[in-house]
């Protein structure tokens, strides 16, 4: 419990740390949920959406990984990975390995480029 509280506190104060991950949100004006909820629960959203899409064929874009990448991929590299990448910067900082991009494309689709 104390550890959990500690982790929560650490997450909440992440921005205050000097060595906190640096990344650009890119199109961050309106995400699919409030920022705090996204930080805490984005993995749950992706997990549920993945089963709905693959198993049931429900292809709403709100919580789709493709939608995340299309907004948040870097304007320079076109990817959410790499140095200062939207996904990789935080995940490297917190030492949480993500397998998503072993199979999924980390790059914005051309059609969605704005």
């Amino acid at each position: 419990m104390r550890i959990a509280a500690g982790i929560t506190a650490a997450v909440l104060t992440v921005a205050a740390h000097a060595d906190a991950p640096r990344f650009k949100i890119e199109r961050g004006e309106a995400c699919v949920a409030p920022v705090a909820e996204m930080r805490r629960d984005h993995m749950k959203m992706l997990l549920h959406q993945r089963d709905r899409t693959l198993r049931e064929g429900i292809r709403t874009t709100q919580f789709s990984l493709k939608n995340c990448v299309d907004c948040h991929a870097s304007r320079e590299t076109g990817s959410v990975l790499g140095k200062d990448g939207f996904c990789s910067s935080c995940h490297e900082y917190t030492a949480v390995k993500i397998d998503c991009f072993e199979c999924h494309s980390p790059e914005r689709q051309k059609a969605a480029a704005r």
Binding site: R50, R52, L54, R55, E56, G57, I58, R59, T60, T61, K66, V69, E102, C103, H104, S105, E107, Q109
Partner: protein
């Protein structure tokens, strides 16, 4: 869904309803216009009808599949993935030669699903047989179980995947009937290519819909399943075999 797309789909549905003179009963058009929030339904069963008398020496279907789904060979036939291939048949006595495209047959009773130990291999409500690569452990039981040799194991690291077609080393994959295209109302890439650059041998449609062209042809013309003796009730049917 953006309003413009909804409107276009609405026109499509209205046109279809008008053409059928029975609003709401044209399941194909309703299915084609399925909205993104709607789940795949048992009302449909997607399938292919391949007239191999029209199938020539070209490989437009294979090329189109490879382009659409982003799979390529490395010149290593033993381990390269293959979602669709051209098979050549020759009668030894008469010398009569035929060629046909072979891919996942999207069985009603798929052996690959029966043998999968993790539930990764599954059949969607609308009959499309898929691999959930999130739960696939790469055991390859399904590769052995499939009587059509339709499944491939990904032996080598994959890069540059298509956004709609995630692929990765250590999992099994096969023809998805271009499920990402079907879900937005399009036909599979092989069918599109065959009708554009090939012999117009392939047709795609809903096997359950009596009003669909594919149902009409299956009802009135002879067709066959490969290895019909296994009673798998395949979603891919052939003519002229």
């Amino acid at each position: 869904m953006n309003p413009r797309r909804r409107q276009v789909l609405g026109w499509g549905a209205a046109a279809a309803a008008g053409a059928a003179l029975a609003p709401g009963l044209r399941l194909v058009e309703l299915a084609l216009a399925r909205s993104p929030e709607e789940a795949a339904s048992k009302l449909q069963r997607w399938g292919l009808l391949i007239d191999i008398t029209q199938c020539g020496e070209c490989d437009a279907c294979v090329t189109a599949c490879s382009d659409e789904n982003g799979w390529t060979g490395h010149g290593r036939a033993e381990t390269d993935v293959q979602w669709i291939r051209k098979v050549s048949l020759r009668d030894k006595r008469t010398g009569y030669a035929q060629t046909l495209p072979l891919m996942c047959q999207h069985c009603e009773h798929p052996p690959c699903v029966d043998v999968c130990p993790t539930g990764a291999s599954f059949k969607r409500e609308d009959g499309i047989v898929l691999v959930d690569k999130h739960t696939c452990i790469g055991c390859r039981y399904c590769v052995l179980a499939c009587p059509y040799g339709a499944r491939s194991f990904v032996h080598e690291a994959v890069e540059g995947q298509k956004a709609d077609v995630p692929r990765g080393k250590g999992t099994v994959e096969s023809c998805t009937l271009c499920v990402h295209r079907v879900d937005r109302g399009a036909t599979p890439a092989c069918v599109e290519a065959c009708n554009k650059d090939g012999g117009k041998a392939m047709a795609f449609g809903d096997l359950n819909d009596r009003d669909s062209a594919i149902h009409k042809r299956l009802r009135t013309e002879p067709s066959s399943q490969i290895r019909a003796d296994l009673a798998l009730n395949t979603g891919v049917r052939y003519q002229g075999l």
